[in-house]
Symmetry: C2
């Protein structure tokens, strides 16, 4: 079996991929974002083997991305819900969808994301500082800028 | 070996993952975005097995994400460069980095992305229509909105 960690990579991209980079994981998160919360719904939606789905959901639960919630008194029915940590993966899903719509959807986007304003939400990324559209050519990396002041744990 | 396609998933997220979802692929793209273009540089940067790196680069080249460029007259030196299709993966990389910085970087972000304005670029996504900050709770999906008008091939 392939390892899922990237030993030696002190990198937030690698660390994120250790959580969501396994096969099927991001599609399971997509299903949950679309409101499919039951094991059987996700299984049907993805056509995924039960043992793999079970393994992924357990792992996401352990990592705090998903919360398993018992919804019947006897415990027979459970639902899986995204936590805030899981919902914060929306930009990753949206970015993959936008790229896929542009490059690997020859018949046009299968699904369109609409914003509450009524328009197409699309994927537009802007600089968090000046608000200008963010392009790769306009950014550069500064390693460890924030290291001298580690974030408080509180 | 694990399959890399998601049969039956008519979904741009799944299609994107068929291109970039394999282990190591997005980290190779990160290296290329950081200006590391030589096989040996990427190999060193990632500590990845030669055969896997070679396989991934070949596949990305075949899919038009990366272009292999011969830079010496005799063909001994080659570089790998991102195409426009590859550079357009920047939002995916940025979104994974932002999520990782927030959730899986206990000592603070290892790398900070600065914008040409001098500020921290961060990851801010806005509605492509109204410009408001884009949150998951404010979007909904409309299946096949664009299907009646497939994009022209020109």
């Amino acid at each position: 079996m392939l390892k899922k960690d990237y030993t030696g990579q002190d990198c937030s991209i690698a660390r994120s991929l250790e959580v969501v980079g396994e096969r099927w994981t991001l599609l399971i998160i997509r299903e949950l974002m679309n409101g499919k919360c039951r094991f059987s719904e996700i299984e049907r939606g993805l056509g995924i083997a039960k043992n793999i789905l079970s393994n992924r959901l357990e792992s996401l639960d352990a990592l705090g991305v998903v919360k398993k919630v018992v919804i019947s008194p006897g415990g027979e029915w459970v639902e899986y819900r995204l936590t805030a940590k899981g919902r914060d993966l929306f930009p990753v899903i949206n970015a993959l969808m936008a790229w896929g719509d542009k490059y690997v959807a020859p018949d046009g986007p299968p699904v369109t994301l609409l914003h509450r304003c009524g328009g197409k939400a699309g994927h537009r990324m802007v600089c968090a500082c000046c608000g200008e559209d963010l392009h790769m050519r306009d950014v550069y990396t500064a390693e460890g800028v924030e290291k001298p002041a580690p974030r408080s744990k509180s």
